[in-house]
Symmetry: C2
């Protein structure tokens, strides 16, 4: 099958063979993502045609995952501000363009599915799988299944005064998203940085401004995780995305802050995701496999 992960800036596509427990990536393509649903379908169709030519067997299914708000059941991209679509019928349009059955899903939830089946959440019955990049959202695993809940943990109010692009104030993402971390450090120091990774580097070097910005990010994340612990009681939170590349620099202070905040809640274990930026594409492949197996 062919798996496609439409990201905010880049679209990844891969020709995948193998079994659900051992996926094999045979060929891969990347290209920049263009806005609008029509442009995405056009570009994905080109990627599919290209990869199909390399396939030793007929391609029986496509797995497609996109960001934003998604309705898996109807195959619709409900809304993406960045990529400029609203109620766009992805499954219908891509099946028409490629004449190939398509399983459609949400990038974060599909990535969570991949961590659950193939990555660092395989032993968990209740978990939150939470990639932290420019944006923050989560796949919520309940009873060993990824729910279709929105999981917008980046946009819960954790009590700080900063506004967020979503129109609310106090959002986790407005302090702990990687873009927010870089922006807040730059504002504080009048020094441009390339991203949150550079703030992490400066933190390691003992920069006190980096330390404050990082600690505020950690506090916002801990408060968001605490809310989820009160409501859902996950065994573990699996951290992914660019910010999780900081490893213990993130998980150590986050664990300490959680220890301070928890009262009656089960304190979830903190783990790092295993699949990195391949999670979305692997999740798209799993969605396609599930679709084929169910029929």
């Amino acid at each position: 099958m062919i798996a496609v992960d439409v990201g905010g800036t880049e679209t990844k596509a891969a020709l995948i063979t193998g079994t659900p427990s051992h996926l094999d990536r045979r060929a891969q393509r990347r290209r920049p993502t263009r806005p609008t649903g029509d442009a995405v379908v056009e570009d994905v169709t080109a990627l599919v045609d290209d990869l199909r030519a390399e396939s030793p067997a007929p391609v029986d299914a496509i797995g497609l995952v996109v960001p934003g708000m998604v309705d898996e059941r109807t195959g619709t991209g409900l809304y993406s501000a960045n990529l400029d679509w609203r109620d766009y019928p992805f499954t219908e349009r891509l099946e028409a363009a490629t004449r190939t059955r398509t399983a459609f899903g949400h990038d974060v939830r599909a990535g969570g599915l991949a961590e659950l089946r193939l990555g660092n959440a395989q032993d968990l019955r209740n978990a939150v799988i939470m990639p932290i990049g420019t944006g923050i959202a989560a796949a919520l695993v309940i009873d060993n299944r990824v729910t279709d809940a929105p999981g917008e943990i980046g946009h819960v109010d954790v009590g700080h005064p900063d506004p967020c692009g979503c129109g609310q104030t106090g959002c986790v993402e407005a302090r702990a998203g990687s873009a927010a971390i870089a922006r807040r450090y730059a504002q504080r120091t009048n020094t441009e940085v390339k991203g949150a990774a550079e703030v992490a580097q400066r933190l390691r070097a003992g920069d006190p401004d980096a330390s404050i910005v990082w600690q505020e990010a950690v506090d916002a994340l801990a408060r968001g995780i605490l809310l989820v612990a009160s409501l859902l009681g996950p065994e573990a939170v699996v951290l992914g995305g660019g910010l999780a590349l900081a490893g213990p620099l993130l998980t150590d202070p986050l664990g300490r802050r959680l220890d301070e905040l928890v009262t009656f809640q089960r304190r979830p274990e903190l783990r790092l995701a295993a699949l990195g930026d391949e999670a979305g594409c692997l999740g798209a492949a799993l969605l396609a496999i599930d679709m084929v197996e169910e029929t």
Copy 2:
């Protein structure tokens, strides 16, 4: 079968016959709840013996639900501060005492199950069923199933400065629980009131202090529901418990406050629960029916 709902102050037991879609209550008993797990099992055993004598057929199962933190799968009452137990093996002890198979559950989640199967949530796939009494918790319905998530929406931080009995500050329950509403009105006016219902009465009569306390309760509830909307995206929130008896006096301002707060979230419909304080007992009966049918 015999269904038992152990409440914080009163224990209700009923002899129930009929089918899962039409339960018939043949006889009923109530008695005050005494603390400790052993006392509860002793009292429940007496209630069961009493009701068994009225049963036309042998009693094949007991459904027992209790408050606090509960592990349904192991049949354990993990913790109740009020009723003074920790890791108490309810299923094991009640089965030994009654020689009758027992299905064990959590009072709020069982009540949610009853609303889902028999009450005002029958058409909902994703819902939050939220009784508001002295305490506030919720049954979380995802994909038409009541999850075993803790659902402690009463103890999420919604940003006000008041402390809560749980050790946190800003909890929904500390402003919107019925005991908190009565206490806050009394503190504000130096007038004792019998409970939240009396505050509601004074609100109807145009009392400005009642109006402020009520509006602060509504604001805390709305912010709690907003968090759940961001994370879980329920179609509806089904309000139950004593406070929901206020009807539109609660749901009208709560709906307006939600309309103001919502940005990207689906604004959940607000409904009133249908089963009142029978929900827990009916839920206990459903747990027993499910157990019998599964075997």
